[in-house]
């Protein structure tokens, strides 16, 4: 598979005001291929979000580097779309203006923007809401807007930081299916952070298990699709779960604090 993202000895430490030093990333070496759906899985505070933010260019590394298509990541770019856990749909723009925003930043003419935005709104099932204000939508619908905006921007890489973390179970399943559908249609490379094992099993082609700022397990998930919420009960999945849980034992925590 063609290499898209290369991560070399990426380290990141935070010196907190209290004097505590946290090594959020510890010399991570990693490559991610074009078109992959990778889940970064781990307990909170073990570096998966830090790595994702570094990939986005929002969080500078202390040492090491990240290259995307050979280019060093030095800051945020429209080449790497991001969906946050928080609600980042701009409340002062209509649904369509939100989806058009990235295209506007890229300097596309209005007619073209509108056309692309309408297509993606239809793809996420919000065609009827293009002129609504975000306040009129539910949390799940706003997440759909964020996903439409991310795909509409046309970035070859989408970074997702626990995007469905704040949603209810059923809505989350809906959005997981939607995301899988869009991924299979576009073959965009997706790096998806989650602490939810079932979510990772449903979505991922590859799971990277994080512990104490390191990737402690790199597993290819070749469970047959479609996978549904019962995926965990499959025999192969049980084996994967067992391996992952062993890697996430509580005493792994102590490595983190220097």
């Amino acid at each position: 598979m063609e290499k898209l993202i290369e991560i070399h000895k990426a380290s990141c430490r935070f010196d907190h005001a209290s004097g505590r030093v946290v090594h959020a990333l510890n010399e991570i070496d990693l490559t991610i291929g074009r078109g992959e759906f990778v889940c970064l899985l781990g307990r909170s505070g073990h570096g998966k979000s830090t790595l994702l933010r570094s990939l986005a260019g929002l969080n500078p590394l202390t040492s090491g580097w990240i290259r995307v298509e050979g280019e060093l990541v030095a800051g945020p770019s429209s080449q790497r779309g991001m969906v946050f856990q928080e609600d980042t749909v701009f409340p002062w723009m209509t649904v369509r203006e939100n989806v058009e925003f990235g295209l506007k930043c890229q300097g596309l003419p209005a007619a073209e923007r509108t056309q692309i935005a309408r297509r993606w709104l239809a793809a996420v099932g919000l065609a009827a809401f293009e002129n609504s204000w975000p306040k009129e939508l539910s949390g799940g619908m706003r997440k759909r807007v964020a996903i439409a905006a991310a795909f509409a921007g046309g970035a070859p890489i989408l970074l997702m930081d626990e995007p469905f973390g704040a949603l209810d179970y059923v809505t989350r399943m809906d959005l997981q299916n939607l995301l899988l559908d869009l991924w299979q249609r576009t073959r965009t490379t997706i790096v998806f952070v989650t602490h939810d094992l079932e979510e990772a099993l449903v979505l991922a082609e590859r799971i990277l298990v994080f512990s104490a700022g390191r990737v402690v397990e790199d597993m290819t998930i070749d469970l047959a699709r479609p996978r549904n919420e019962e995926v965990r009960a499959r025999a192969e999945a049980v084996a994967i779960t067992r391996t992952i849980l062993r890697r996430l034992e509580p005493n792994n925590d102590v490595l983190r604090v220097a």
């Binding site: 946050f84 980042t88 930043c105």
Partner: protein, 282 residues
Amino acid sequence: MMHAVRRMLARNWIGALSVLSLVAAWEIAAHLVPVSPLQGTPIVPSLEHMLGVSFIGMSDYWKFPFWAPVPELGGAQTYRGAILAMSYHSLITLYRISAGMLLGASVGVTRALLLAHFPLFRALAAGPLHFLRMCPLLAMIPLFQFWFGATDKSVIIFVAYGVGVVYLVTALNAIANLPHKYIEAALCQGASRLRILRSIVIPAILPEFFSAIYVTLGIAWSAVVAAEYIGVDSGIGRMVIWADYFSDTGRMMIVTLFILAYAMLTFAFVRILQRYVLRWMP
């Protein structure tokens, strides 16, 4: 229109009742207090006095030799002259207050954006800013007139100075409270600094900007009337002084009531504007 009034009364009948009883109490007081030794200048002018003698007397302040007789040149007092005089001086004041508000808001918000963008500036500005806020506004009118002369410009700059600090402080606060997630989301979509300013920062601070408008409207009306009162030879504030030369309480009250009406109208206008501009707000 009548429907809207009726609906407002239905909702605020207690408020309407208290205003009515206040007017009634004024009227009773007007008839009870002793008559002033100066002819035609009651200590508490009654409504019929204000609407009659006082209002038509406003035509004394019409000084152009067209559209209505000029009492200064021996012409008769007319209602047409009174209305023309009131309109003329009201428009002048309205122009000054709008220009002053606009200037103050744009300078205040622009400076806030600069200060928020350059941390060193912010540290430098904190002290002087605090000092500026504490300066007694009205005490500085003579100084402004000394600097800029007794002109429109002087009044406008004075109003702008009075309201500008409020806009500066409000905008600084609003920028500081702006959720960082929106900036990050915009950056990840390839937004430039200018695009973030236009599409994120400015819309995001608009709600607090409107609270600043409400606060500054009060300040601006006091400032503009006070500045006219002391120095400039036109405007609705100046009319109070002209009335004061002859202790004409009725005319003073008329001007006061007009200013009250204008203040209420501007509040209502801003409220309508706010409802439209901030229609996206939850």
